[in-house]
């Protein structure tokens, strides 16, 4: 009985190494260059993340509400397989820009702490604040921060 216990604990301690990341994909400076002068709500989401789905209707609303005050919602999909994102988008309409970062290079560059993560970026391209998660209380705070920058 003793040996099985040891083997079991060894199995639990079994550690694998993280895969290497190639760097041909999305970088922060490229994303910002395209939207110079806009205040940006940069959101990171994935199809398997349930709170992310709840944030889409709100992002649609603020994109429409502040569209004329050069405000942009940019959302970055982090699904490894893009068709998962397509299925997600087929049943969750989004009227804002969607970028794809399948190997997570932009996510890594910005050191995401959780999912969904969002960054509020001012017109000069500087990150003003970073947030994790999406709830009713948090979305009120996010909208206030955005309004201050507009």
């Amino acid at each position: 009985m003793k040996t099985i216990a040891i083997v079991m604990t060894a199995l639990i301690l079994f550690i694998t190494h993280a895969q290497a990341k190639d760097s041909t994909s999305l970088q922060y400076k490229d994303v910002i260059k395209q939207y110079k002068g806009d205040v940006i709500y940069l959101d990171f989401w994935a199809s398997w993340c349930t709170p992310c789905r709840k944030s889409f209707p709100w992002m649609n609303k603020i994109q429409q509400k502040y569209a004329d005050k050069n405000f942009k919602v940019i959302s970055v999909n982090l699904d490894a397989e893009p068709n998962l994102a397509k299925q997600f988008l087929a049943s969750t309409p989004a009227n804002f820009t969607i970028l794809y970062d399948p190997d997570g290079s932009l996510a890594e560059e910005l050191q995401l702490k959780g999912m969904p993560s969002s960054f509020i970026i001012n017109a000069e391209g500087k990150i003003v604040s970073a947030h994790v998660g999406f709830t009713d209380k948090k979305k009120v705070k996010y909208e206030q921060e955005i309004e201050q920058l507009l």
């Binding site: 079991m8 639990i12 694998t16 959780g114 709830t135």
Partner: protein
């Protein structure tokens, strides 16, 4: 352009599509509604106890990530369970726990008391919510009432996430208070069961001499410390240490022990007596590994307590999903425990009466294994149905005790076979 793919079930698909439109049953979007899990489980042992248990559990997620879950459990128990006495080559007679009436046991049979039919109702509630940045707190309560037993407990738990939620440390505490009010009252420990004609005038006085109280209680404090660690994209591990101390009445008022002479023949039946303190330590390790499509759930639990019971539990499940959303999940569980210090299958009449003694095989040396299979299928619109069938086998062991005299000819450690059948529907 021809429709290449052979569409044989076009008419069937079309019927469901149009009936959804014209039947226009409203499908409420899932955000704010309750998620329900209902289950009926039937546990049946061969010639012994059988229980049917029904559960309805509801969970509601609120929009700031708070979760409320409520659960109602109703179970009904019937059948006979061993009263602790040994089998004998001759028929035996025992008094019912209530003191009125007897029941007889045939020669060679393990004595079973069939007065057990009981219905239990249990209500459980748990509230969980995030706190500050990385903390999650949860508080809950539990109330359970059956004919002769009442139990109430409260629990609290706090968990903190580290290093991007890869590591979670949690600490929890629970307090439970149980009261037992057995039919016939609390027996006097190690007193002799009065066996005789119950309408004999002084039977009642003799019976009452073996009673010391109408009810007893015990309280339990549990502490639980855990660490959950994500190893990699496919694997997560949890390690828990739990400490539990129980003080109060832990004796089973319905269990007795045979007092036998040199030739192993029962001379009397003594009511058992267990210590009123028990401290348990349990170490639990679980890992879930996601292969390409299957998911392995393997766990090991080591428990040791100051009743000198050590136990090892191995549990393996392997979920095999199919493309149409169905799945099967084979399950294998192995359990072994050493006997409690004061466990004895019988006691010699001339031996000095020990302080604590019990012949309840469930705290004797025991090996058990469970083999089962679960099959699940989605029913569309988020509802799913699953069936579970398991076979559970118990092998009580002699813990080194030598059978004496006639006890050699009877089965002292009868094995138990049981079936667990469950249907679960969630919507």
């Amino acid at each position: 352009m021809q429709l290449k793919a052979k569409k044989t079930n076009l008419k069937a698909m079309l019927t469901t599509a149009s009936c959804a439109l014209l039947g226009s049953t409203a499908n409420v979007s899932a955000q704010e509604t309750w998620q329900f899990d209902t289950a009926i489980m039937h546990y049946a042992e061969v010639d012994r106890v059988s229980a049917t248990e029904a559960i309805i559990a509801g969970t509601k997620k609120f929009n700031n990530d708070e979760v409320l879950s409520l659960k109602l459990t109703i179970d009904a128990l019937t059948g006979a369970s061993p009263n602790g006495a040994t089998a004998q080559p001759t028929p035996q007679t025992f008094t019912r726990p209530s003191g009125n009436g007897q029941y007889n046991v045939k020669a060679g049979d393990t004595p079973l008391d069939d007065t057990f039919h009981d219905t239990r109702v249990q209500l459980t509630g748990q509230w969980t919510q995030p706190l500050l940045k990385d903390y999650t707190v949860s508080v809950g309560g539990n109330f359970s009432k059956e004919y002769d037993y009442m139990s109430a407990s409260l629990n609290g738990n706090v968990a903190r996430d580290f290093n991007k939620k890869n590591t979670t440390l949690s600490a929890g505490m629970a307090y439970a208070y149980d009261v037992i009010e057995p039919e016939g009252g609390i027996p006097k420990p190690l007193s002799e069961m009065v066996v005789g004609d119950s309408n004999d005038p002084n039977f009642n006085d003799d019976f009452n001499k073996t009673r010391i109280a109408s009810d007893e209680s015990k309280s339990t404090i549990d502490l639980l410390f855990g660490v959950t660690q994500v190893i990699n994209r496919q694997m997560i591990v949890q390690l828990n240490y739990s400490y539990s101390t129980v003080s109060g009445y832990m004796t089973d008022p319905f269990k007795i022990i045979s007092s036998v002479n040199k030739n192993g023949e029962s001379q009397a039946y003594l009511y058992e007596n267990r210590p009123d303190e028990r401290t348990k330590h349990a170490f639990f390790g679980q890992t879930k590994y996601h292969f390409d499509s299957g998911i392995l759930d393997a766990s090991y639990r080591y428990m040791t307590d100051d009743w000198q019971i050590d136990s090892h539990t191995f549990d393996f499940r392997y979920l095999i999903p199919f493309t149409n959303g169905h799945f099967i999940e084979p399950h294998f569980r192995l359990y072994t425990q050493s006997a409690a210090e004061f466990y004895q299958p019988f006691i010699a009449q001339d031996e000095a009466k020990p302080n604590f003694v019990s012949a309840d095989y469930r705290i004797g040396e025991l090996d058990t294994y469970t083999v089962g299979l679960k099959y699940g299928m989605p029913l569309g619109d988020g509802n799913n149905l699953s069936f579970r069938l398991e076979y559970y086998h118990q092998t009580p062991k002699d813990n080194g005790t030598q059978a004496i005299g006639v006890l050699k000819e009877v089965e002292l450690y009868e094995q138990v076979d049981a079936i667990i059948a469950q249907v679960t529907y969630s919507f």
